[in-house]
């Protein structure tokens, strides 16, 4: 531990904490941040599950969990303890190794994503806080690839769901996992394109830089023109398999979907990963579009509390929204889901991405902005008309073909 790593572009982070070399104190702070992020995520999952059940109950005019602890706040803990003591079942026809691996493939990415989210720090300065005399970011890691890390991990999480269904050796989980992989892959394209618009505006992949670029109210939600944000919301909800896109575990059709055959702790891991993903997706949305911890710092003492508070409030608004969606909207049909993903979200986000790119180029080259905007919009309208024409033509052909074969269309 005595050798000193020279400052410079470290793979892990541009965090000022790591620029002076690694001493035991620095490692201690990093470990502390890891532990805090881990515990924070676990506790917030626990509260999230309770909050969701309570809020959905409120919206259903019910009471919800009320027995374990004050207002039933310990309900999740009770459920966890119960699941822990349940029999751990591996079906006879399951592929044992993959079956046991799958929950971790879901869980670990869910944990890791949270590492790149800056949850605090005063970004009107350089976004650092001082911990034990060392200046550091309030995020576990700030890799230069930043948000790509998030996209990569959420792709890995698809494997968890897919392999769980595949290895169960049972019908419903297989159907659930086929749906899941199709849904998550198609919506990841729209999600990625929406995020790409943010890259274009921010000019960086690092979450810290993206947040730093949004100080003083220049939030990306407006800077990118709202559309990527809306696409991100819809695609993110689908990516999370939350209602109204919860076809993966549609209880009425597929029993429990991909985790039908799971029980005990393995089921708990899936459940944990699912709710953890809700929280991390909200945190990512806040980071990318809503300025992360940005917000007015109202007091001089304890000034570092305010950014964390603003960040928590923004995430909470998203969580409320997810629960609200669940309480209100019925589930999409499978073909509607695919139509929305491929025929609406991907074209819209791709078009918007191209428009923002064009505007950036126009600004650099000094082209007249108005002309570029009008031209861009005209091109997009033509493209949309062509696309919808193609879709209509394909449908008409399909219906005609079906009639020829005497099948009811």
């Amino acid at each position: 531990m005595s050798h000193v790593i020279p400052s410079g572009p470290l793979v892990l982070a541009a965090d000022p904490l790591l620029n002076q070399g690694l001493g035991p104190g620095i490692v201690g702070i990093v470990l502390l941040k890891v532990v805090v992020a881990f515990v924070l995520l676990l506790v917030s999952v626990m509260l999230m599950i309770w909050f969701e059940r309570k809020l959905v109950a409120d919206m259903h005019n019910r009471i919800g969990p009320s027995v374990a602890g004050p207002f039933g706040i310990l309900q999740t803990l009770a459920d966890g303890i119960k699941l822990f003591f349940k029999e751990d079942l591996v079906p006879d026809r399951a592929d044992r190794i993959v079956f046991k691996l799958a929950p971790y493939l879901s869980l670990i990415p869910a944990f890791l994503v949270f590492a790149i989210v800056p949850i605090g720090g005063d970004f009107s300065g350089d976004g650092t806080v001082t911990l034990f005399g060392e200046r550091t970011y309030l995020q576990v890691a700030d890799p230069p690839v930043g948000v790509l890390f998030f996209l990569a991990l959420s792709s890995i999480a698809v494997y968890g769901v897919m392999l769980a269904g595949w290895s169960s050796g049972s019908k419903y989980p297989l159907l659930g996992s086929v749906r899941a992989s199709a849904q998550m892959i198609s919506y990841e394209a729209a999600l990625g394109l929406a995020i790409a618009s943010v890259f274009l505006t921010s000019g960086s992949l690092s979450t810290h830089d993206i947040v730093a670029g949004q100080v003083a109210g220049h939030w990306n939600v407006l800077a990118t023109g709202v559309v990527p944000f809306l696409v991100f919301l819809v695609a993110g909800t689908a990516e999370l398999n939350r209602p109204p896109f919860d076809l993966v575990e549609a209880e009425q059709e597929l029993v429990g979907g991909f985790h039908t055959e799971y029980s005990s702790l393995r089921f708990a891991l899936f459940f944990l990963a699912e709710f953890m993903n809700v929280i991390t997706m909200s945190a990512i949305a806040v980071t990318l579009f809503l300025g992360g911890p940005a917000g007015p710092i109202l007091t001089d003492t304890l000034g570092w509390v305010w950014p964390i508070l603003w960040f928590g409030l923004k995430v909470f608004a998203f969580l409320f929204g997810f629960v609200w969606l669940r309480a209100t909207l019925p589930r999409f049909r499978y073909d509607q889901l695919m139509d929305l993903g491929w025929k609406v979200l991907i074209p819209v986000s791709l078009g918007w991405f191209l428009l923002i790119a064009t505007l950036n180029v126009a600004r650099d080259r000094g082209w007249p902005i108005l002309v570029v905007v009008l031209g861009g919009v005209a091109v997009m309208v033509v493209a949309a008309a062509m696309l919808s024409g193609a879709v209509d033509k394909a449908r008409a052909d399909r219906l005609a073909g079906a009639e020829d074969e005497g099948v009811d269309a």
Partner: protein, 208 residues
């Protein structure tokens, strides 16, 4: 904007009065005619009303009643007739509390109390025997078994609401609630039935 009206509905619901009762902490009043655990009644002199005719067992859709009749011992009769219920068992693992046995009983021997909070843990406890079902020979009140959770007042008048018209079919009692004599309560006076919405006389169960 019609798409978003649903969101307004769910949002408004959050602030409405709840209709759910947190059950074990707070218990709602039960309807007067709630179908609960059965009792076997006695006449005022302590004689059992059951005559062992097995009509209840015959009508039971869940086949949870087992009755065997026997001739009354001449020196110590159990019921005022020729025969009495020698064995009487109700299996509460099967009973659906439909009340058809009560309807079928010619002597109003079997009625249902309002008690529903009796969760037993063994099969033997689940099958109620004649001794457990019979009302107390002194007070005319139902037995309180260890696993039963009687609320105050639940064990009063456990057969009181039974007949809306005279059991004997006497036309002078049409439209009046009349009771047969009962241990601990005697013969209660007939009461006029609340006027029903239709002008037709209540056929059965018109009391409130």
């Amino acid at each position: 904007m019609g798409y978003f009206r649903g969101f307004a509905v769910t949002f408004r619901k959050m602030f409405e009065q709840r209709v759910t009762t947190p059950y074990p902490k707070q218990k709602r009043d039960k309807p007067t005619r709630f179908h609960g655990r059965h009792v076997l009644n006695r006449y005022e002199d302590g004689m059992e009303k059951c005559i062992g005719c097995e009509l209840c067992a015959g009508v039971c859709p869940a086949q949870c009643i087992y009755v065997r009749g026997a001739d009354n011992p001449e020196d110590a009769p159990v019921s005022p007739g020729e025969r009495y219920g020698f064995v009487y068992e109700i299996n509460y693992l099967r009973c659906i509390h439909c009340d058809l046995c009560v309807e079928a009983c010619p002597t109003e021997a079997i009625t249902e109390t309002n008690l529903f909070e009796f969760s037993f843990t063994t099969r033997a406890d689940a099958v109620y025997t004649r001794d457990e079902l019979l009302v107390d020979a002194e007070t005319g009140q139902p037995n309180h078994l260890p696993w039963e959770d009687w609320r105050p007042g639940d064990d009063e008048h456990t057969s009181g609401w039974m007949r809306a018209t005279a059991s004997s079919g006497d036309s002078t009692y049409q439209g009046r609630v009349a009771w047969s004599g009962e241990l601990g309560y005697g013969v209660r006076a007939a009461e006029p039935v609340e006027p029903t919405e239709s002008a037709e006389p209540p056929v059965d169960g018109g009391g409130s």
